[in-house]
Amino acid sequence: MSFVAHLINGISLGSVYALIALGYTMVYGIAKMLNFAHGDVIMIGGYVVFVTVSGMGLNPLAAIIISMAACTILGVVIERVAYRPLRGASPLAVLITAIGVSYLLQNVALLVFGSDTKAFTNVVPFPNLELFDGQLVIKSVTIVTVIVNVIIMVGLTLFVKKTKIGRAMTAVSEDKGAAQLMGINVNGTIAITFAIGSSLAAIAGVLLCSAYPALTPYTGSMPGIKAFVAAVFGGIGSIPGAFIGGILLGVIENLSKAYISSQLSDAIVFSILIIVLLVKPTGLLGKKVQEKV
C-alpha cells in the first residue's frame, strides 16, 4: 500500500513538473532558446493570484484569468525588451540574458511582495479523493493538474498542427530564414509563442502553489530547473515528451526518496537523466536530427 501511496505522490509532484515543462518545451521548440526565466514567470503568476484572491477577494477563476493575462503581457514584454534585440546573436548570449531576466523578476518580487512566505489558498474547490478508508489519499489538485495537463497537451498539439499560426511556428522552428521568405512574420510568431508559454506558466504557477502552498520570490526557480530537466528527459521540443518526462521525473524522485535515500534523491534523478540521454541522446521522444555535412 505504501508503494502505491508513494507512486501517487510521485505522480502528483510529476504532474506539476509536467505542466511547467510544457511551457519550457513550447518556447524551446519554436524559439530554440532555453528560457531560464520561465520558473520566475510562474512565481509572478502565483503572486498575481495570491494578491487578487487573498488581497482583493476575487473569485479564483477570475483571478486565474487575470494572472494569465498578466503573465502573457509580462512574457511578451520580456521577449520584446530582452530577447528580441539578441535575435541572431550567439545562443549563449540569449541564455545569459534569460538568467539576467530571472534575477530581475526574483528581485522585483522580493521588493514588491517581501521575503516572507505567503500561504497560498488552494483554488481547487473539490475535496480530496479518499480510498480504502483513508489509507490512500489522492489530492484533488493532483487530479485537476493531470486533467489540465492533458487538455493543454492536446490543445497545443492541435494548435501547432492545425492552425495557421501553429504551422507558422513549426516553420519558424525549422528555419527562420526560409520562413521569413515565405512571408511569415518571424518576430510576431515568436512573440505569440512567448505569450502562450507565459500564459501556461500562469496556470502552472496557480497549480504549483495550490499543491505546495508556500509562495516566496524563489518559489519558481527550483521547480523551473526540475521541469527543464523533465523537458530534456522527454525530448525537448516534444509536447507529449514534456508530459511523460515530468510525470516520470516526479515518480522517480519520490520512489528514490522513499526507497534509497531522501538526501540523495536529486543525485539519483540526475543520474537517471544522464543514463537516458546516453542511450537516447535526444531524450525519450526527441526527434533525431540528421547532421548535414
Binding site: H6, N9, S12, L13, L110, A119, P223, A258, S262, Q263
Partner: protein, 430 residues
Amino acid sequence: MKKKMLSLVLAGAMTAALLTGCGSTGADSTSTADGTTNEAAAEDAGADNADAATDNADASDAATDAAEDTGAAAGANGTFKIGGIGPLTGGAAVYGIAAMNGSQIAVDEINAAGGINGMTVELNFQDDELDSEKSVNAYNTLKDWGVQVIDGCVTSACSIAVAAKTAEDNIFQLTPSGSAVECVTNPNSFRVCFSDPNQGAASAQYIGEHNLATKIAVIYDSSDVYSSGIYEKFVSEAANQSFEIVTAGAFTADNKTDFSVQLQQAKDAGADLVFLPIYYNEAALILKQASDMGFDVQFFGCDGLDGILGVDNFDASLAEGVMLLTPFAADATDDLTVKFVTTYNEKFGETPNQFAADGYDAIYTIKAAAEKAGITADMSNEEICTALSAAMTEIQVDGLTGLGITWDASGEPTKEPKAVVIKDGVYTAM
C-alpha cells in the same frame, strides 16, 4: 577583438558611474554620524585600514563628511557603530531581513532614550546572500565604514567565516542567531540564541519527561546546519529517553516542497509524534501535506517553528496542537513582547519571528555590555573588544527571548526555553 575591449571599457565606465552613485547613498545611511568622531572611527578601524580608501571610497568619505557636519548635534558623546550581516536577498532573505528589522527597532529605541553611554548608535546592515564568501565581503565593507561591533551573522556558516576574521582584527562579535557550535569558539564571539545541540537535547528531554510519545519520526533538513545539528543531538539524547525514533526523513534545500515521502514513512511506521527541527516555511508545507493525506499526529518543533502563525494567509487550524520549544513567542502578553510586536507591525507590516527577536535582543545585549564596560567613542576596536568580552560574562539581560539571560566565557547564553502549544490559533504556554 577591439570591439570587445571597447565594450568592456564601457562596461567599466558604467561600473564607475555606479560607484559614484554608491558613494552618495552610503552617505545617506550614515547621516546620523557625529563629525567629531570621524577621526576616532578612522583610528578605530585598525592600522591596516586606517587610511584605507580607494578613489571611490574617497568620494564617499567626502560625502559622508558633508552629511556629518550638518547632523552634528545628534549624539553628545559621539557615535557607536554597529555592523550587522545577514542574508537580505536570496532564499534565506526572510531570516536576514527579520533580524535587520528587529535590530533597527532596538537601535531606534536606544537612540530615542539617549543612546549608549550618551553615544548615538548607528546600525549598518549588509547583505551576505547566505554565502560565506559574501559575508566576508560584507564584513570588509563594514570595516571600511568604521564598524566597532559586529551584530552577526544571522546564519551559522557565515558566522563561522566572519568569526575567523573578527578574531584576527579584534572586533567584538555577537551573533543573534548563528546556532552552530563553531560560531562562538573564539573568545571575542558570543551568541543570543541557543546552540543547536542544546536545543536537540532539550527537546528530547522535554518529550521524554512529559511522556509525549513512544514512537517518534523526525523530518529534518540535512543540507541545513541548524537542522542537522539539532537532529544529531536529538538522536543521541533519545538513547537516554523512553521513546524510540522510528524514522528519520531528511530533505535538502533543493527539495523542500514535497514532503509526501517523509510523511508517508512516518505514517507507515506508526509514529505518534513527528519532531520537526526545521524552520517554519517548510513546516507550514509539512502540516498542510500531513492534513491532506489524513495523517493526524502530534507535531513538535524548536524555535525555528516560531513564526508559523505569522505566515500570510496561513490556515491556523492546521497548526492546532503543534508544540514547540522556543524562547520567543510573538503572542506572549508581557509588556516587552507586546510593545515590540506592535512597533514591528507598524513599521514593517509583518508579525516578527524568532530572528527579529534575536536581532532586537542582540542590540540590547551589546548596550548592556557596553554600559557595563564603560565603552566610549574614542576607544580603539581592540579595547572595545577586550572590554566587551569581559563585560559579557557579568551582565544579565531581560530580553524578548528570555528573562535574566547570562553568558559564560565560552560565548553560550543561559536561558530557559519555553514550551508552548498552539491552541485556538495562538501560542499558549504549557
